[in-house]
C-alpha cells in the first residue's frame, strides 16, 4: 500500500520534472540541457523573493516562475536559435549554459543547508493507515492539474494548437502562417516555467542545492527517453514506470540504487527501442 502511495507521489514528481523538457524537445527539437539549471534558478529566485524581499509566498512563486520563463526565452532567443538544427551544437551549447548557471551559483556560495523553502501546507493525513504529508498530496493534485491543463491547452487554444502543429510538421505549420521561431521561444518559456513549477513544488521537501540541478536533468532525460523523445503523454506514462521502479528498488535494495535505475532505464531504452516505449519517430532517423 505504501509502495502504491509513494510510487504515485514519486511518479508525479518525475512527470512534472520531465514535462518541461519534453515540451521543449517536442516542439523545437532542441534538447534543453539547461533544464536542471532553470530548475535551480527558479528555486533560488523564489527563495530570495521570499526571504530577501519578504514578499508573500504565493506572489514570490508566481514572480519566480515568470522570471524563469523569461530567462528560458532569452537563452533560446540569443543562443540556441543560432545553432538550431545542429543537434550536437544544441546539446553542447545548452549544456554549457546550464553548467555556467549552476557552477555560478556554487561559486556564489550557494550551498549548504541554509536554503530551504517552506512547505505549502503543514501536517499530514492518513490514507488507509499510511501517514502522508499534506504537501505531497498537494504535489500530486497540482501535477495532475498541470497535466490536464496542458492537454486542454494544446487541444483547445489557438496558441496550443499552433505549438502542436509545429511539433508535427514544421514546414506545413510555416505555410499556414505560424511563426515557428516565435513559437519555439514560447515553447521554451513554457518549458522553463514548468521547470520552475517543478522546483517550487519539489524543493520544499529538501534543501535547494546545486546538485539538484544535475539530478533533475538526468531524471528528466530518463523519463523523456523512456517515454519517447517528443511524446508528452509518453513522458507522463514513463514517469509512472520509472517512479514505481525507483520506489520498488528503494524498498527492496536501498536508496543508493535510485539513480542507477534511472540511468539504466536510459541506456536500455536507447539500446532496444531508441524512439521510446511510446514514441512515434521514424526508425531510420535514430539507428543504422
Amino acid at each position: 500500500m505504501d509502495i502504491l502511495i509513494y510510487g504515485t507521489i514519486n511518479s508525479m514528481a518525475l512527470a512534472i520534472m520531465a514535462l518541461g523538457f519534453a515540451l521543449v524537445y517536442g516542439i523545437s527539437r532542441v534538447p534543453n540541457f539547461a533544464h536542471g539549471a532553470l530548475y535551480v534558478v527558479c528555486g533560488f529566485v523564489t527563495w530570495s523573493l521570499l526571504r530577501g524581499l519578504g514578499l508573500n509566498y504565493l506572489v514570490s512563486i508566481f514572480l519566480a516562475m515568470i522570471i524563469t520563463g523569461v530567462i528560458g526565452a532569452l537563452i533560446y532567443q540569443f543562443v540556441l536559435i543560432r545553432v538550431r538544427g545542429m543537434a550536437i551544437s544544441e546539446i553542447i551549447a545548452s549544456y554549457a549554459i546550464g553548467l555556467a548557471i549552476l557552477e555560478g551559483f556554487r561559486w556564489w556560495g550557494f550551498k549548504g543547508m541554509t536554503y530551504t523553502l517552506p512547505v505549502f501546507v503543514e501536517g499530514s493525513i492518513n490514507i488507509g493507515d499510511i501517514p502522508v504529508d499534506l504537501h505531497r498530496v498537494v504535489i500530486v493534485g497540482i501535477c495532475a492539474a498541470v497535466v490536464a491543463f496542458l492537454w486542454l491547452f494544446t487541444h483547445y487554444t489557438r496558441i496550443g494548437l499552433a505549438l502542436r502543429g509545429m511539433a508535427q510538421d514544421e514546414r506545413a505549420a510555416l505555410m499556414l502562417g505560424i511563426d515557428s521561431d516565435f513559437m519555439a521561444v514560447v515553447a521554451m518559456a513554457v518549458g522553463s516555467m514548468l521547470a520552475g513549477l517543478a522546483a517550487v513544488l519539489l524543493l520544499p521537501l529538501g534543501n535547494i542545492v546545486v546538485e539538484a540541478g544535475y539530478n533533475v536533468l538526468i531524471l528528466a532525460i530518463a523519463v523523456c527517453i523512456v517515454g519517447g523523445l517528443g511524446s508528452w503523454m509518453g513522458a507522463v506514462l514513463a514517469a509512472f514506470l520509472i517512479g514505481f521502479a525507483q520506489i520498488l528498488t528503494v524498498v527492496y535494495w536501498g536508496a543508493h540504487y535510485q539513480m542507477v535505475v534511472a540511468l539504466l532505464a536510459i541506456i536500455f531504452t536507447l539500446i532496444f527501442k531508441p524512439s521510446g516505449l511510446f514514441g512515434r519517430q521514424k526508425e531510420l532517423e535514430e539507428r543504422v
Binding site: 551544437s89 551549447a93 556554487r106 536507447l270
Partner: protein, 337 residues
C-alpha cells in the same frame, strides 16, 4: 545611391600550390613551408617541460597532455566516424581504475599497467558500448553521456573498488621527467598516428560511415564492425590517458568519471577547430592553463570556460586551427562584384 558590392575572395598561396607536388623539394623555402608547422609543434612540445618555471607548471603540462589525448579521441570519433561521444570520462575512468587495480592489487609496475590498462580498457569500453553503436546522432550522444555517470553511481552504490574514497597508494612514475616526456611522446605519437590513419583505406571507410552509412552498408561492409574498431582506437587513447592520470596523481577515484573529463575535451575541440586533429591539442594547450590560472576563483572557472564554449560554438564554430590554416595557406582580398 551607389552601393559598391564586394565579396571576399580566397586564393591559395603560390607556395602552397607548388608544395602540393614533387616541386616541394625544389628549394629550402618550400621545404620549410611544409615542415615548419610540424617542427614548431614537435620541438615546442619537447622543450616545453624544460622552460616551465616551476614543478607546478610542469605538472600542468602533464595534465594538458592527458586532456589532449582525450580531445584527440573525441575529435576522431565525432568528426571522422560520426559518433559524438560525450563520455570521455568513461574511458578515463575505466583506464584509470584498471591501472590502479593492476598496480595496487597485483603489484605490477607502471611500465606494465599502462599498456595493459590501455588495451584491456579499450576492449572493455568497446564491449560495453557495442550495443549502442547502431544509434545515431543525439541518441548516441545521450547514451554515452550517461555511461560514466552510471559507472560512478554503481561504484558508489555497491561500495566496491574503494567506494567513495577511491583506490589510494598507486605508484607514481620513476621521476617527473619520465612522466612528462612519456605523456608528451604519447600525444605526438597518437597525433601523427591518427593523421596517418584517417588517410588510409580504413580512414576512408570511417569517413564514409560518417557521411553516408547506407552507402557503406550497400558496399557489403558492416557499419557496426567499423564503428567498433573506431571506438576501440578512441577508447585506447582515453584509457591510456586515464592510466597516466592515475599514476601521476597516485590515486584513482569516482571523480575520474566526473563530467570535467567529458566537457573540457569537447570545449578544447570546439575552440581548437573540429576535424583537424591538431586543433583539439592546441585547444587543450589554451584552455587548461587558463583554467589553472583561474584556479583561485574556484568554480567560477567552470562558468568562465562554459561561456567561452558557448561563444565559440555560436559565433566562431570553425575554431582557431581552421582559421590559422586558412591564413597560412590562402590569402584573401576584397573584389568588386
Amino acid at each position: 545611391m551607389n552601393i559598391e558590392e564586394r565579396r571576399k575572395e580566397r586564393l591559395d598561396r603560390g607556395i602552397k600550390v607548388r608544395t602540393d607536388g614533387i616541386y616541394a623539394i625544389m628549394s629550402l623555402r618550400e621545404l620549410s613551408y611544409l615542415t615548419m608547422p610540424r617542427l614548431v609543434l614537435i620541438v615546442g612540445l619537447l622543450i616545453l617541460p624544460l622552460v616551465m618555471p616551476s614543478m607546478y607548471w610542469q605538472r600542468v603540462i602533464s595534465i594538458v597532455c592527458i586532456y589532449s589525448l582525450l580531445a584527440l579521441s573525441f575529435d576522431f570519433l565525432a568528426h571522422f566516424v560520426g559518433l559524438v561521444c560525450l563520455g570521455g570520462a568513461f574511458f578515463i575512468g575505466i583506464g584509470g581504475y584498471l591501472a590502479a587495480i593492476l598496480n595496487t592489487y597485483f603489484g605490477m609496475p607502471p611500465l606494465l599497467t599502462i599498456p595493459i590498462a590501455t588495451v584491456v580498457g579499450a576492449g572493455i569500453c568497446t564491449l560495453l558500448l557495442l550495443p549502442c553503436l547502431p544509434l545515431r546522432g543525439v541518441y548516441f550522444a545521450i547514451v554515452s553521456l550517461m555511461y560514466p555517470l552510471l559507472m560512478a553511481r554503481i561504484i558508489e552504490a555497491l561500495n566496491i573498488l574503494g567506494g567513495t574514497d577511491g583506490i589510494v597508494g598507486v605508484d607514481s612514475f620513476a621521476n617527473r621527467w619520465i612522466e612528462q616526456y612519456f605523456v608528451i611522446l604519447m600525444v605526438l605519437l597518437f597525433l601523427f598516428g591518427m593523421r596517418r590513419l584517417v588517410n588510409l583505406d580504413i580512414g576512408l571507410v570511417f569517413r564514409a560511415v560518417k557521411d553516408n552509412d547506407q552507402a557503406v552498408r550497400a558496399s557489403g561492409m558492416s557499419i557496426t564492425f567499423y564503428k567498433a574498431i573506431a571506438v576501440f582506437i578512441a577508447s585506447a587513447m582515453g584509457c591510456l590517458s586515464g592510466a597516466c592520470l592515475v599514476h601521476i596523481y597516485m590515486w584513482s577515484g569516482i571523480s575520474q568519471f566526473a563530467l570535467d573529463f567529458s566537457i573540457i575535451p569537447i570545449a578544447a575541440t570546439v575552440i581548437g577547430g573540429a576535424g583537424t586533429l591538431v586543433g583539439p591539442v592546441l585547444g587543450c594547450f589554451i584552455l587548461v592553463p587558463i583554467s589553472e590560472l583561474l584556479r583561485d576563483f574556484g568554480t567560477l572557472r567552470i562558468v568562465f570556460y562554459s561561456l567561452i564554449l558557448v561563444a565559440f560554438i555560436v559565433f566562431r564554430s570553425e575554431g582557431v586551427m581552421v582559421y590559422g590554416q586558412r591564413k597560412y595557406h590562402q590569402f584573401e582580398r576584397w573584389v568588386k562584384i
